[in-house]
Subunit: 339 residues, 2 copies
């Protein structure tokens, strides 16, 4: 089927292209009769105006982008559902970009999105991200940016995070109160401000109970599953092994469970385990996993609301604002006090 465009309709009706274009935009310059003819033929030919051409005119794409490190991750999946719930009300489309936690990909997306495909971006940076100029270039182009969870504090805009320091302090306290004296903290990356806040909360928890901070118990596991598995295995195989694992992310707790099974270590008798997680089935694991659960859906909703409030007000940038939501500590069998 040949491509139907404004010219096809214009030729068929013997009017100018400009008349067709104006008729489709319901312009007052065009007679009611002509409008009806144009609209009816456009419908018959299944004509869709080219959105690129029309976005050039309107400078509004009705698209927002969400840039996230990974998709097979309960936290980010829930955040996106939260964003969608707001975008749907606003009749916007949500485009999802996955960086696979690579800075190079994040940079590419930011360059790519600079030029008018979207009205706004919500993003969570990669563990590799150490600079923020690429995000600044988006805001310089008038594209609104809201950061969430894994944020860069250097960027002046709205940031939606959770109370990571306090949650982490509480989780550490929970472990200590249940008898742990030697708690290992498994981090993803020391480049992430969120990971550093969690680590600081852990250190503060130890300090509160006069347990000396031992740097050898803070272990950066990175993003590679197999490597993380080996790191945890070597940690738990040592004769001097920790009595608790505090994992900064869900997947490190899962690896810990797998390692414990390999090494025939019992949770919680031999090792207690707690982590930041949005695992719906934490309760169905063997044993049920204690979690610090972030309000992921709410984070997505909040980030989208801030973005749309600023889009609606036609501002060119978003004011600096830190929005902090509360996480919830849910103790389960994996951290229960041993008799």
């Amino acid at each position: 089927m040949p491509k139907v465009n404004l010219k096809t309709i214009a030729t068929e009706l013997g009017v100018s292209i400009s008349t067709v274009s104006k008729a489709l935009q319901d312009s007052y310059e065009i007679s009611k009769e002509t409008k009806q003819k144009v609209v009816s033929l456009a419908k018959k030919l299944n004509f869709q105006p080219n959105p690129y051409a029309s976005s050039l005119r309107r400078n509004q794409t009705r698209n927002i982008a969400v840039i996230i490190p990974e998709i097979a991750n309960n936290f980010f999946a829930l955040v996106i559902n939260g964003v969608e719930s707001v975008a749907r009300e606003k009749n916007y489309h949500v485009l999802i970009y996955l960086t696979h936690d690579e800075y190079k990909k994040e940079l590419e997306f930011c360059e790519y999105l600079q030029n008018g495909r979207i009205d706004g971006v919500m993003m969570s940076v990669t563990t590799e991200t150490q600079t923020h100029e690429h995000i600044g270039r988006l805001t310089e182009k008038g594209i609104l940016v809201v950061l969430f969870d894994r944020v860069c504090h250097e960027i002046e805009t709205a940031k939606v995070t959770t109370d990571d320091f306090v949650s982490s302090l509480n989780a550490t306290e929970h472990l200590i109160q249940n008898g742990c004296k030697k708690i290992a903290y498994l981090a993803l990356s020391s480049h992430l401000s969120i990971d550093n806040k969690r680590k600081a909360g852990y250190a503060e928890g130890l300090h509160k109970y006069n347990i000396p901070f031992d740097a050898s118990l803070v272990i950066e596991c990175g993003n590679n599953e197999n490597e993380a598995h080996q790191i945890i295995k070597s940690l738990l195989s040592s004769p001097n092994r920790p009595d608790a694992i505090f994992a900064s992310v869900e997947k490190l707790a899962i690896e810990t469970y797998l390692v414990c099974r390999e090494l025939s270590l019992s949770i919680p008798q031999d090792v207690k385990v707690i982590c930041f997680a949005n695992l719906k089935i934490a309760d169905l694991l063997n044993p049920p996993l204690s979690t610090i659960t972030q309000p992921a859906f709410e984070i997505g909703k909040k980030a989208a609301r801030v973005l749309f409030r600023n889009l609606d007000s036609k501002r060119g940038s978003i004011e600096n604002e830190n929005i902090v939501l509360k996480s919830l500590l849910i103790p389960r069998l994996s951290t229960q006090k041993s008799d």
Copy 2:
């Protein structure tokens, strides 16, 4: 910062807009010297050509779309990772659209995507989808479509599925061999061809062992978690309850686990459970869950390869083709024979 466009560069260099445009496209009409000046100034001003304008010229967006029913779903997350692994090689961006399993949203996306934002679409339809004209309209516009998993057989194009009938037959046989006589099949929707194939495989399995097919044991649970929970609860509360649950999707097996706990039913002693699932932690559940695991990452890769092969060959449509990958039955404790 004022918007930098072709005119800005043209004015600054005292040349025509057309010269700037041609220089940026490395046209033979422009001298090397002028090209260098233009490119260097464009770089300095951080100029990005408007992709909408340039896609009008090139008619190639370097975007592909993936339309899926949900994101908090291990199967679809893995499919997308598979698609991404291929798109990355081809230097394409993957845009993800979530229908939230609503036909209305699917329809909207298909209308929206008709008009040149993308070169191709990979999609899995919603449980509500009963017609396919909206997909046909995409292909009529020259947009390549590949269907996967939840396909419409009426559309002439490539479809990537798994051996659902055989897998389902094997799972049913596995349950019967482990002593089950009264197996309930939990379906998502009778509108899905994939669900119907799985149901047919289940019926065939019963037939093979001369177990009469009982329509009251085939239960459509739908997409609402709470409703599904109640349906399963009422099924397992009946004095005449089934001795096995065969769930067509992961989330129905999870609800079954939750119901069994509520009703103090033991898995596998009181009820055996098996399901189609891509749950990485099936093995860590209490008890470990027997699964039929689809090669989700491979499905995504395969669908993307077919799409790109056809994009590369500049064909306007994809030939009808059924590509069937094999799933794997992984027996675990949840279906173990009771003594």
